[in-house]
């Protein structure tokens, strides 16, 4: 009887042990929780963004591990492991949310930066466009001014030419110039010279001054000064006198500011008379100096062969 009772006690103890610990030190849920814990531990975002949640999860896992080590019931271990597992998952989600929030903040700043950049670029572009337009306008204005200035210059030149032409004409009329193939011919008659001398008198000087004016206003023209005499006296004397008179006129022109290189001269003596030498008045006509004024820019052709 007593033995039986002891046996029964031992049996009851065995039953009690089996009830508490069907031995496995782990359950599938606990295994999962442990694996999740390792994964979370390797996630740097957890350490940054969910340290508190992760600490709590770790404590829950510790309790589940402790229950397993104490060989508590599978239910208890599972229950604790489940809590640990959910808390680890919560820590993961918190970290994920905070990471996304920091991305939102970063993206917001980045968007502001890009928008500012875009506006700056647009403003720069507008400024550049405006500057280009302004430069173009200025250029157009300058061109218009140029054209205007050219037109004015052309008009002025035309006016000057007209004025010069009319003044030239007036002077030539005044000097009784004659139009010939060689150019305009102005004759300085004998009366403008001192008798039998080469010097011009006051009237002669006045005529030369007018000629010098024409020369100054028409820089493209040259003159040929030609001296002539009547048939009275020796040929040598007459040639000499005609040359001296021509030289005297050339000298007078030079003294009025006409450059020497624009003046050619020649003495022909008694050659090329304009009248017969049979009367005093005719002889006086032959004693003369002819000044041939070239056409604009043209050279004076030589006198045709002696008559």
């Amino acid at each position: 009887m007593k033995l039986n009772f002891l046996k029964a006690i031992a049996l009851a103890g065995t039953v009690g042990l089996t009830a508490c610990s069907t031995v496995p030190t782990t359950t599938p849920t606990l295994d999962e929780a442990r694996a999740d814990f390792v994964a979370a531990n390797n996630n740097p975002q957890i350490a940054t963004y969910a340290p508190m949640e992760f600490k709590q999860a770790g404590e829950s896992l510790d309790r589940a591990n402790q229950a397993a080590a104490n060989k508590e019931s599978l239910d208890t271990i599972d229950r604790l492991a489940y809590v640990a597992k959910q808390r680890i998952a919560t820590a993961q989600e918190v970290a994920k949310a905070k990471t996304a929030e920091s991305q939102v903040a970063k993206a917001g700043r980045e968007r502001d930066r890009v928008q500012l950049e875009a506006r700056t670029a647009e403003a720069d572009r507008a400024k550049r466009d405006a500057a280009t337009a302004q430069a173009q306008a200025a250029q157009a204005q300058a061109q218009a001014q140029d054209a205007q200035a050219q037109a004015a210059a052309a008009q002025q030149q035309a006016a000057q030419q007209t004025e010069r032409a009319s003044r030239l004409e007036a002077l030539l009329v005044e000097l009784h110039a004659q139009k010939t193939e060689r150019g305009m011919v102005v004759t300085i008659g004998d009366v403008l010279f001192a008798t039998d001398r080469a010097e011009l008198n006051a009237n002669g000087m006045a005529t030369v001054r007018k000629l010098a004016d024409i020369m100054t206003q028409n820089p493209g023209r040259t003159v040929m000064v030609e001296g002539f005499t009547d048939s009275t006296g020796g040929a040598a004397h007459n040639k000499d006198l005609s040359e001296r008179r021509a030289a005297s006129v050339a000298q007078a022109l030079t003294s009025q500011g006409v450059p020497r290189e624009r003046i050619a001269m020649r003495g022909y003596g008694e050659a090329f008379p304009v009248a017969s030498n049979d009367s005093a008045s005719n002889r006086q006509l032959n004693r003369r100096v002819e000044i041939v004024l070239s056409n604009e820019g043209a050279t004076i052709p030589p006198r045709a062969a002696q008559r």
């Binding site: 039953v15 009830a19 489940y82 809590v83 929030e101 993206a107 968007r111 890009v114």
Partner: protein
């Protein structure tokens, strides 16, 4: 074995069951009302965070356990009520954080997409200018 010893064995076995129950489940008589209230709060927070749409599995699990915790409470099974309440609480917390992370991720994705489009526009404007 005689009838008497069988009878004894039965009695001892019953005692062993009682003993084992006492050993495994230290009877927790503390009213679990507080734990259930905390869990109820956690579920409500999760719902208002959008868990029904964004974490349906977790919030359904939490609600189911809440219901069972309330039933256990009514049946005065405080231990079960407390355990279920704790589980409902961790489920609800997970549901809430899942909902939050889903919303934050969506916001980040939307903003990143905005940024991508904006960059594209700026690049296009700049390259148009260079042409």
């Amino acid at each position: 074995m005689d009838t008497k010893s069988i009878n004894l064995l039965t009695r001892v076995g019953a005692a062993a069951v009682v003993l084992s129950l006492a050993a495994c489940a230290s009877p927790e008589k503390t009213p679990a009302t507080a734990a259930v209230a905390v869990s109820h709060n956690a579920v409500e927070n999760a719902v208002s965070a959008g868990a029904p749409e964004l974490a349906p599995t977790e919030i359904n699990a939490a609600r189911d356990k809440m219901m069972r915790a309330n039933q256990a409470l009514a049946a005065k099974d405080y231990k079960a009520a407390r355990e279920l309440a704790v589980q409902a609480q961790v489920d609800a917390k997970l549901a809430q954080s899942k909902a939050n992370s889903a919303k934050a991720t969506a916001a980040a994705n939307a903003l990143n997409e905005d940024l991508r489009v904006l960059r594209q526009e700026v690049d296009r404007a700049n390259s148009d200018q260079q042409q």
